[in-house]
């Protein structure tokens, strides 16, 4: 896959649930720390039981999400792996392995934190997004709806 420009990356990040409320200019900042990497078939992005240190947005290809050797589901183009890895230190409950050659955008947690430190405005908006998500999960009547909105592509969010 050709290398994407910053704004192309921002365009794709706009579809990530966690970033949906961010302004395009802020998305461009996040896009500037996102790294486009190619993953060979069979290569793993995260291992079960180990902390995940980055969020991945799949640009091309597919990943199998495995617990032990059991395949739970797969993640494809436009979906994210490790949605909460940017905030959560807990070990990953599953591992993700490329079932075919793939390209992903990787947002490293430390880079992300640096960005937040320099841009408090992003922190504010992220807090709002997180709070909204928690409220959606906790509010009776809404909690029965799938945690992932139709527009979202974050099936890896609960990992």
């Amino acid at each position: 896959m050709d290398s994407l420009s910053t704004l192309d990356r921002a365009l794709r990040l706009k579809k990530v649930e966690l970033f949906q409320n961010l302004e395009t200019e802020t998305l461009a900042l996040i896009a500037s720390i996102a790294e486009q990497i190619d993953i060979a078939e069979g290569e793993s992005l995260c291992d079960e039981g180990r902390p995940q240190l980055a969020l991945f947005l799949v640009l091309e290809g597919k990943f199998d999400m495995l617990r032990g050797s059991a395949r739970l589901f797969s993640i494809g183009v436009g979906e994210t792996i490790g949605n909460w890895a940017l905030f959560d230190d807990q070990p990953s409950l599953v591992s993700s392995t490329a079932s075919e050659a793939a390209t992903v955008l990787r947002i490293d947690r430390e880079d992300f934190y640096d960005l937040l430190a320099d841009n408090p405005e992003i922190t504010r908006t992220m807090f709002q997004a997180l709070f909204q998500r928690v409220r959606t999960l906790l509010t009776p009547g809404i909690s029965n709806t799938p945690p992932v909105p139709a527009t979202s592509t974050t099936r890896g969010g609960s990992l």
Binding site: S5, A10, E25, A117
Partner: protein, 922 residues
């Protein structure tokens, strides 16, 4: 620029003439039609009921029937308000209208069957119906439209009422000539059923917020409505205005009839023709005036002017009657009354209810429209009797009464106008929470017995809380409790007990305080304890400190030494010797010891060594030491440390302390802070900290620096500058250079309109992902720009008002947004209102407001020009977004423009331009 307003050119022209926005035509038409039907039925029924009554009874029995109407109005309104507790407005209207339709059908049957009392019941019932139905229609209109829509559309809806009145006359005439008066009842029943259906349709368009606000309020009743009206100044003023209006109108009507009768003495036919012509012409004039001018007058001159027209016109009419008593004067007075009462005055009065919460509105409106207006009619009749029969005044006496009635009416309207703005303001106000005040109130509510019980208990955490609450209320614990606490096992409780003793200077604790010095407590607490000891017994305290100076406790010795320095004389010299040794003691430079020394610097008297020690401590690498040194710099207000403190804003471990210290230094630090702001701050957060410092200091120089920062490179910093300036304005409004703010405001408005032009040009394009991205970026820029407009406005007007208005305008609540806009229209000066409001009005995205053309010479741009302009705009973000979407624009010569951007200083612009050029080649 293509306009997004749907419809043909003729439809658009008609909408523009009538000031109807897209999506409003259906509701407005229904409401106008609803009012027309309602008023038509009222007029026709009145004629029918008069005729049926007089055909069965004597005219002398009419006053009894009128009395019955007045008495029954109270009963009916009471029942109506009780029903309003159970039913939402639309259902309430539907239910009552179906009920009334059934009643008219029954009465028709009763009349047809020859049941004589049916005519009386009809007469009485029509008297109530005549005030209930219009009030219901207007209540529905109030709930369907927002304040801003009401201001534009009430005139149009009201014109339905005027047309309905003419229609009702024709219906009555038609029925009368065909000897089918009773049939009017069936027509009215049909109209009511149709009205119920219209109410059902309109209920789907009622504002959701109104229903939400309707919850959990006092239950409505006649008495509750009366109490509610009496409890609010605004409602009292509305009542007074309605009351005076009804009285003056009755007096003018009498004068008109009296003068006309005198002018056409004996000629009954001429009199009838005159009345017919007069009311006919007035109806036409009123309708035309209403449709064409009411809305425009309200928007141009505001609600206040709308409310003043009728009383002033009647006042002039009264004066004319006093001076001439001719027919022309009576025509002028009654003509003005009839023309404006049902047009401009009605629309203005209905607008008065808009800022009220929906529940209050429903409760109050029916009470005022029905009970108060009927009561006022009765009082006016009594007044006439008093003037003519008891005081035996001539017609000129009534004219005097008109003029005298207008004076308090005008005064009421004057107050009402101001109260309307305040009520609008209250409707958008967001409450300020003052945590200290809340805590005080909570602590005051806690009984002394409960506090004593807690202090006697064994729960240390509860004891600490109890002491804190007592401190908050500045209450001293009982001595018994205090001594018990000082002996307790909890160091934290003991410490808090000593804090109370020191703060309140409670005598008699010298020994305990001296012992407490040995405990492991902070330098500040030790310092305060020494102060307490000096106040208790100066000589003994000095002896104690001398002993401590040479004692084994190094920290205590240093603290006592610094305290003794302030005593002067030989003892101070001795203390200085000890202190110098302690300060330069490098034998055991633990962080803890260095931190203590750093903190003690803040208590040193002025000396050459003090700054030297402070400088050293501020370069320490340990955050713990740095924190103490910064606190000392703050305590000393050491301006010499400003630059170092600014550097430390970049150190996350001590950032907050550094900021507080700069704020404590105050005005002398402004030059250094402003200078640092001019350089590129190490981070956005550090930049924000610098702005906060300036906002807290808030002197003239700080204000200038903050004004400069409104053009800071990042949005977050510009926002912070705006907030800090608002704080400065709140404390000292005169510090702001208004001319400069005005210039900044104008720049922001112009830029906002320019961005609106660009957005309008790109928003109708094919929605490819890149163009959508550009549209989103432009919308976001526009929203940011609006915020910047409000920052400037907050420097020119009370900032809380602007903050609340901005909040609601950005909210999704249509009713509050509308109230906020209406509030701004009344609050802003004309030059600001004219430019700012078109930016904020809804449905404005696709239309370039007149102000943009007239004031800034802006014209709609074709898409191609908009893209070119984006690429040359001095805004790197929009340039990048423009370049991103450019290859899909199909604009000639775009390649050259993209080529030019390859040398752009902004990395994102360069990268996007290169990628875009490659995409074009591909």
């Amino acid at each position: 620029m293509s306009e997004s307003v749907p419809g043909t050119t003729n439809q658009r022209g008609l909408r523009a003439l009538l000031k109807i926005e897209p999506g409003e035509a259906w509701s407005t038409g229904l409401l106008a039609g609803y009012l027309a039907l309602g008023i038509a039925s009222v007029i026709a029924l009145k004629a029918a009921s008069d005729s049926l009554f007089l055909s069965r009874f004597e005219a002398s029995q009419l006053p009894y029937a009128d009395l019955a109407v007045t008495a029954l109005v109270g009963v009916v309104v009471g029942l109506y308000l009780k029903l309003s507790n159970r039913l939402p407005l639309a259902r309430l209207v539907q239910f009552t209208q179906v009920l009334m339709a059934g009643l008219f059908a029954l009465l028709w049957y009763g009349l047809a069957a020859g049941w004589a009392p049916a005519a009386i019941v009809l007469y009485v019932w029509v008297g109530i119906y005549a005030v209930l139905v219009p009030s219901q229609v207007w209540s529905i209109a109030n709930s369907v439209l927002t304040t801003r829509q009401a201001k534009r559309l009430f005139s149009l809806i009201g014109s339905g009422g005027i047309a309905g009145a003419a229609m009702g006359g024709r219906i009555a005439n038609f029925a009368g000539t065909r000897n089918a008066t009773e049939a009017v009842l069936l027509a009215a029943a049909a109209i009511l059923l149709l009205g119920a259906a219209i109410a059902a349709v309109l209920s789907r368009r009622m504002l959701a917020t109104n229903e939400r606000r309707a919850a959990a309020k006092e239950r409505a009743s006649l008495l509750a409505s009366f109490r509610l009206v009496m409890s609010q100044r605004y409602l009292r003023l509305i009542t007074a205005s309605l009351f005076l209006s009804a009285i003056v109108s009755t007096l003018v009507k009498f004068q008109f009839k009296a003068v006309a009768k005198a002018s056409f003495a004996g000629d009954q036919a001429a009199l009838t023709t005159f009345f017919g012509d007069f009311y006919g012409y007035i109806a036409v004039f009123s309708f035309v005036f209403h449709v064409l001018f009411t809305s425009r007058l309200l928007r141009l001159f505001g609600l206040g002017a709308g409310l003043f027209v009728l009383p002033l016109a009647l006042g002039l009419g009264g004066v004319a009657l006093l001076t001439s008593a001719g027919l022309w004067a009576a025509v002028v007075a009654r003509g003005a009354d009839q023309s404006f009462r049902h047009s401009l005055d009605r629309a203005s009065n209905e607008l008065l209810y808009m800022p009220l919460a929906a529940r209050v509105r429903t409760q109050v409106k029916s009470f005022l429209d029905i009970v108060v207006s009927r009561f006022a009619d009765g009082i006016a009749s009594l007044l006439l009797l008093l003037l003519l029969e008891v005081l035996t005044l001539a017609s000129s006496g009534v004219s005097w009464a008109v003029v005298l009635g207008v004076i308090p009416w005008v005064a009421t309207v004057w107050l009402l106008r101001r109260e309307y703005v305040d009520t609008l303001r209250a409707s958008i106000e967001r409450p300020e929470l003052n945590p200290e005040e809340i805590l005080k109130r909570i602590s005051a509510s806690e009984g002394a017995a409960r506090i004593a019980e807690t202090l006697e208990g064994s729960d240390h955490a509860a004891q600490e809380t109890a002491i804190d609450w007592m401190r908050l209320n500045q209450a001293a614990p009982e001595e018994l409790h205090l001594r018990a606490l000082l002996k307790g096992t909890s160091p934290a409780v003991r410490q808090k007990a000593f804090e109370v003793i020191v703060e309140q200077r409670l005598p008699g604790y010298f020994k305990q305080a001296a012992e407490h010095l040995e405990d492991d407590i902070a330098v500040e607490e030790r310092w305060k304890l020494l102060g307490y000891l000096e106040a208790e017994d100066g000589a003994e305290a000095e002896q104690l400190m001398q002993a401590l100076l040479v004692g084994p406790n190094r920290e205590l010795a240093a603290t006592a030494g610094v305290r003794l320095l302030h005593h002067g004389g030989a003892i101070a010299e001795e203390a200085m010797t000890h202190l110098k040794a302690a300060m330069s003691d490098a034998a055991e430079p633990t962080a803890e010891w260095r931190a203590l020394r750093a903190r003690l610097i803040g208590f040193l008297p002025d000396s050459p060594e003090r700054l030297e020690y402070l400088g050293q401590a501020l370069t320490d690498e340990e955050p713990e030491v740095l924190r103490e040194a910064i606190e000392s710099a703050a305590a000393l207000r050491a301006v010499e440390a400003s630059e170092r403190l600014i550097e430390l804003l970049g150190n996350p471990a001590v950032r907050r302390e550094a900021r507080t210290a700069l704020e404590a230094i105050g005005a002398p630090a402004v030059a250094a802070v402003a200078g640092a702001l001019g350089r590129v701050p190490p981070s956005e957060q550090a930049g924000n900290d610098l702005l906060r410092v300036l906002g807290t200091i808030g002197d003239g120089d700080a204000t200038v620096a903050l004004l400069n920062a409104l053009d800071a490179p990042t949005f977050a910093m510009r926002r912070m500058a705006g907030r800090c300036l608002a704080r400065v304005v709140e404390r000292a409004p005169s510090r702001i250079d208004r001319t400069r703010v005005e210039q900044g405001l104008r720049r922001e408005i112009q830029a906002s309109y320019q961005e609106r032009v660009l957005l309008s040009a790109v928003q109708d394009r094919a929605e490819t992902p890149r163009i959508v991205f550009l549209q989103t970026a432009l919308r976001e820029r526009s929203s940011q720009r609006t915020k910047r407009v409000f920052w400037h406005l907050a420097l020119l007007y009370p900032w809380r008002e602007m903050r609340d208005a901005a909040y609601w305008i950005d909210s999704g609540d249509d009713a509050s947004r509308s109230n906020a806009l209406e509030f701004l229209e009344t609050r802003l000066a004309n030059e600001h209102r004219r430019l700012v409001l078109p930016l904020l009005e809804p449905n404005g995205d696709g239309v370039l407001p007149d102000a943009a053309r007239e004031e800034f010479g802006l014209i709609p741009l074709p898409y191609e020009n908009a893209v070119r302009r984006l690429l040359t705009r001095p805004d790197p973000w929009l340039q990048a977004c423009g370049a991103y979407a450019a290859p899909e624009s199909g604009v000639d010569g775009i390649g050259e423009l993209l080529k030019g951007l390859r040398e752009n200083p902004d990395a994102l612009v360069r990268e996007t331009a290169i990628a875009a050029a490659e995409r074009m080649r591909a």
